[in-house]
């Protein structure tokens, strides 16, 4: 177990390092960032002075070393737009994103898991078919379109909910639904198939043969055993919430990490882009590590795989 742990953590560190290098490489492929944030009447010599000051004139290797060194200290440089610590900006936006992702995840657990369980238990019933239709639709509907249509109906026409921004609990409703839609469709399908697998296991047949009540068979034996794949898969999929947040937050003007990233990309605010993308990647990788470790701990076969 220890060897597995060490190997897996070492691998994660390597991936994080490589990912950071990829971010650096990607961002340096682009044009000259310095030009965008200059006063209106800037002269050529001032541009060079600023470029010098920001270190864009140094050899790429030096810039790279400085970047990695900075990351280790949590320093991604200063936002070109706001002239503030880039990582600080990212961290400020984090609670809003966590809140939204947490709400979406809670909604998913409350809605999608029971849906998947029931669909599996009543396989081929009308309910099963309806829930299949719902999940297929959920997976096919683009989040940004769903968001716009919700805004049109509930904010523009009915005026029940605010169009966006963060304020009271009402502000949370539409973004949560949009972010949860795709995710819960996935989780409902996964739950259903995991439950179906579990329902075909021998011990379930045995339990039924013993004459146990069906609710007890499902509650105690099946659900417990299918919980492992459901939780791990749900955990793995949770990373996708970070991607979904990019679009959802932009539509609903939700002041989170995703919106910050899109705006930084639009403004070509490189320090912030690098901080946000690197941060997301690290969180994502750590999430994968945790899920993997949990899985390995729950299911010893994995360790040797």
């Amino acid at each position: 177990m220890r060897r597995y742990l060490v190997a897996r953590i070492g691998q994660t560190v390597l991936v994080v390092f490589l990912s950071l290098s990829a971010v650096f490489g990607m961002v340096r492929l682009t044009g000259d960032p310095v030009l965008l944030f200059m006063p209106m009447d800037i002269q050529a010599r001032d541009v060079n002075a600023l470029r010098q000051r920001l270190g864009f004139n140094d050899p790429l290797a030096v810039q790279y070393a400085r970047f990695i060194g900075g990351v280790v200290r949590g320093d991604f440089g200063e936002s070109l737009r706001y002239r503030r610590d880039a990582l600080g900006l990212v961290m400020e936006r984090l609670p809003a994103t966590l809140l939204l992702a947490g709400a979406a995840m809670a909604l998913t657990l409350v809605v999608a898991v029971p849906l998947g369980v029931l669909a599996a238990v009543r396989r081929d019933s009308l309910f099963d078919h309806l829930s299949t239709v719902a999940t297929v639709l959920g997976q096919a509907t683009p989040g940004f379109w769903l968001g716009l249509m919700l805004i049109y109906v509930f904010a523009v026409q009915l005026r029940w909910l605010p169009t966006g921004g963060m304020g009271g609990p009402a502000h949370l409703v539409m973004p949560t639904i949009v972010l949860a839609a795709f995710y819960s469709a996935r989780v409902a399908r996964l739950t259903r198939s995991a439950m179906l697998d579990a329902l075909n296991e021998d011990y379930v047949l045995t339990a039924r043969a013993k004459g146990l009540a069906e609710t007890r068979v499902i509650g105690k034996h099946t659900l417990r055993n299918s919980a492992i794949p459901i939780v791990t898969l749900a955990g793995l999929e949770a990373g996708q919430l970070l991607g979904g947040a990019v679009v959802t937050e932009t539509i609903f003007a939700w002041p989170g990490l995703g919106r910050l990233t899109v705006q930084a990309l639009l403004n070509r605010d490189f320090p912030v882009v690098m901080a946000a993308v690197s941060f997301t990647s690290i969180v994502y990788t750590l999430l994968n590590l945790l899920v993997d470790l949990a899985y390995g701990w729950l299911d010893p076969r994995v360790r040797r795989a």
Binding site: P39, M40, D41
Partner: protein, 510 residues
Amino acid sequence: MHVLWVLIVALTAAVLGAPAAHAQDRARSKEIVVGLGAEPRTMLAVMIVDWTTNAMLEHIYDRLLDRDAKTFKPKPMLATEWKVVNDTTWEFKLRRNVKFHNGEPFTAASVKATIEFALDPANKSHFAGNAYWGLVKEVQIVDDYTVRFVTKQPWPNLVDSAALVNSLIMPAKALKELGPAKLAEKPIGTGPFRFVEWRRDERLVLDRNPDYWAGPADVSRVTFRFIPEFSARMAALLSGEIDIMKDVPPHAVEAIERSGRAKVRATVSSRINYLALVTLKPGPMQDIRVRRAMNHALDVDELIKQVLKGRATKMCGPLAPANVDYAPVECYKHDPARAQALFKEAGVDPTRLTLTLDTPSGRYPLDKDISLAIAAQLQRLGITTNVVVNEWGTHLDKIKNRNTGDMFFLGWGPALYGQATVQPLFIGDQTYASYGNNKTIDEKIARAGTLLDPKARADAYAELQRLLHDEAPWVFLWQQHDLYGVAQHVEWTPRADEKVWMYDAKVTPR
């Protein structure tokens, strides 16, 4: 699982806070919520050239001079009088008994400290540039209420500069003792509103300053909410979440007026829109006949009527009447036959001409739609136009790097005095220029920028406007109309200089 719920509840409580007050409660307590497209980029004065940032900041800080809302001429604010001492020295008399929000008295020391802050390279202020305070050699304190600006060369536009957000004044003592970082967290000015809080990417809250030197504002609290999309701002206005929004598109005016909840207030802006015909890189636009043909080819009146629903004022030369240095010039007439003749003279066959037009999207009223409409108009002459739609940063980047197509669409403003338009836009080595390297014009612009005598200055700019009209560096388009949506219970009149000034707003509880 319990842990998750506790986390969610705690986060909800921490992040959401108290819900915003309802429109009617706000009317009673005289609060106003203004919806803007972006958040401020700093809380420090004289740091960043950005309309949105400074529109909010000038509620906290006062300028040296204000502008008359009608004539756009400078008028007293923190300074009460100003005069030219000699070719390179301006003197300002300052208002007495003005206090900063922290109690510190306003004196000449604060003016000196603020300008020096802007000029200090360590602060990386945009205002250190030559169009802002870069020409200032030294600020001298004559006594507590008299201050002198010594310039590196004769600089008649100093007074114009002092009557803009370029001159928002910060407190000298606090700047020194607390430092810029602390002031940026909790800004201190002399303005009619005091800083309360800034929730990033969400809102900026300011409370009325009861001790304001010109008397307290009618509005007790101003909240700026940052809502990037027009449609979201509009929904927020109609549902009573906000009371004032900027940039209502012409097609939405009717919907707002019909709603009964808000009205539209319009003003002719000093901001101009133009179609640059790029001469700084090889292409058909280097031929003056082609540029003039373009001016005859496009039907500006139709663009204003059909696309902007009449919400723009046609412009015939590089400066608009809102500009203090404006002089009338004759318009290019819409005349396709004349355009065809000019193309022929230049040896250009319009049916084989393919042009590229760069446009931003969403920066100016219906900018992208106007560009597409221009392409459609050129199509009538057989000219093929590829419209390239850029996001705003890329658009500026392309202009700065001279990477645009043969034409690009841009707005410029607030354009209140001549030099601030002709110098940056018609001299070849300037960042945003599309035209330049014309010796005669270069010299005349340089000279106009040093004339202190009003008559000589007027003549110089009149001549420049004639010359530039004949050179046809742009297709001259129009002055924007700024359209604001204003809630029924708020009385407020917009200004041509784009100052969104809530000190002037009145709230009438219903």
